[in-house]
Amino acid sequence: MAQAAVAKKKVEGTQDKLHVWPYLVRLEFLCAILTIVALTVWSIVIDAPLEEAANPTKTPNPSKAPWYFLGLQDILVYFDPWFAGVVAPVLIIVGLMLIPYLDVNPKGNGYYTYHERKVAIWVYCFGFLVLWIALIIMGVFLRGPGWNLFMPWQYWDPHKVVALVNVDLPYAFGVRTYNGAMLFGGVVILGYFAVGTAIYFFMERKALKSVGFLRMFLKIELLLIMVGIVIKIVLRLGFNIKYVWVTPWFNI
């Protein structure tokens, strides 16, 4: 009896369609009015900034990118520009595009759920809220001259000196020769990806047949890169490690 009631409710729920005119159009209209009013009031109250004329001989300190790129500018502290400024943004865009093809969980399609797709929600929220939004907030409010960290109540001292005692990871482990360091760093980086991939494939070996090798491979590599960024940040802030892998062509 109760089951029949639920089934009936379900059928009714899916059949329940409303006319777009007036129900949706009036909602959109209201939303549009509110947005335009908010935008107009905002524009009357706060003026867009206009500083002095552009002067290529006078570099401001700090020079900041537009606020929406400050997350990327902030990871320049931890990575060289080829990664922070070029490879990372490309990976973000490509990674986002790949989401529908990598996430094969059929549940949670078209409704809010945490329990049916915990990992996906965690990964996205971490990437978006921590690695993107939190770094932007930090870049906008806490980064001062010399890209040093300043608390909101601190004076932005352009002469603040922060001792750079960073060393490369191989050096911290006692590797003193150039080639030895290059070998050590390469083993660490490639080993990180190899071991991470191997563990993932071992843990998910049953899914390999249904999910497919390429899908799983791309998923774990993108995840390892994302986690790797966090590891590098921790290594720098906690252990003063500058590079993990130094080569004649690029440093990581």
């Binding site: 206009l50 990118a65 929406y68 080829w82 490879v87 989401i99």
Partner: protein, 276 residues
């Protein structure tokens, strides 16, 4: 002789019509039955199911919508209204941007003074500039929130995978639109923010002069991907002109084309996502 032309009412009859108010319905009838009116408005305004459908189906702007929609798709809690607001903010920047274009010249000597002129001499110039800038910034935020909502509802899942890809491109183009516009005021803020941003292109692997493996390609400061982007080795007048053209013509056209695909695909993929 009988007069076959339409009866011209006598003064007394006319006065009666005016006094009784019938004159208004007569005029309304005359207008709504005229050829001009009937060719413009194809259906009445009475609240009938047929008219509700026709309101959407026979209107070029509204026919973006389906004529009927799932009840849950109306819930603000579900949609956050962010996609629609993003599109509205885009339209706001188009309108205010076109107005700004009447006063602004993307030339090194003039650009900054045109900004001053806009702010101090042009009627509502400051307001137009503020609305353009704040709408652009707001659009960046709303497009991120839209994407966040679409992720949280799992709306990228089949059959909507491709539309998510288009959406990611639209997010990217939103940021590029904002970034190219950032240079145009030609003040210190603009020049150095864009310098910081475009300096990254220098480090592009293979294609930037400071990037990994550049020496094998032969990239130099004056001949690499950054020089292509800003028309020289530093952010100067050529960069201003390039960013202006990208900002006002190229990116809006590409983004507009992608928006058409994005909106069309929502319909083709079965409307807004919902519990199956």
């Amino acid at each position: 002789m009988a007069n076959k032309s339409p009866q011209i009412p006598s003064i007394a009859e006319l006065m009666d019509k005016i006094k009784s108010g019938k004159i208004f319905s007569d005029i309304a009838k005359e207008i709504t039955e005229s050829q001009v009116w009937t060719s413009t408005f194809r259906h009445g305004y009475a609240d009938t199911p047929r008219n509700r459908v026709l309101q959407i189906a026979s209107n070029v702007w509204l026919h973006l919508h389906p004529v009927k929609i799932q009840r849950h798709a109306l819930r603000i809690k579900f949609t956050w209204c962010m996609g629609g607001i993003t599109f509205l903010l885009f339209l706001s920047t188009v309108v205010t941007g076109v107005i700004l274009m009447f006063y602004y010249r993307p030339v090194g000597e003039y650009a900054y003074y045109d900004m001053k002129y806009l702010q101090y001499d042009v009627p509502f110039g400051m307001l137009m500039r503020n609305m353009h800038r704040w709408a652009a910034h707001a659009m960046v935020i709303t497009v991120w929130l839209h994407m966040f909502r679409v992720f949280l509802t799992g709306s990228y899942k089949p059959p909507r995978e491709f539309n998510w890809v288009i959406g990611v491109l639209l997010v990217t183009f939103t940021l590029l639109l904002s970034f190219t516009g950032y240079l145009l005021p030609w003040d210190q803020l603009a020049m150095w923010a864009v310098t910081v941003g475009t300096n990254m292109a220098r480090a592009t692997p293979f294609l930037g002069n400071e990037g990994p493996f550049a020496e094998y390609v032969g990239a130099t400061p004056r001949y690499d991907v950054r020089a292509l982007l800003i028309g020289g080795s530093l952010v100067g007048p050529p960069a201003l002109l390039r960013f202006y053209v990208l900002h006002c013509i190229f990116i809006p056209l590409v983004a507009g084309a992608l928006m058409i695909v994005h909106f069309w695909r929502i319909r083709k993929d079965g409307g807004i996502s919902g519990p199956l």
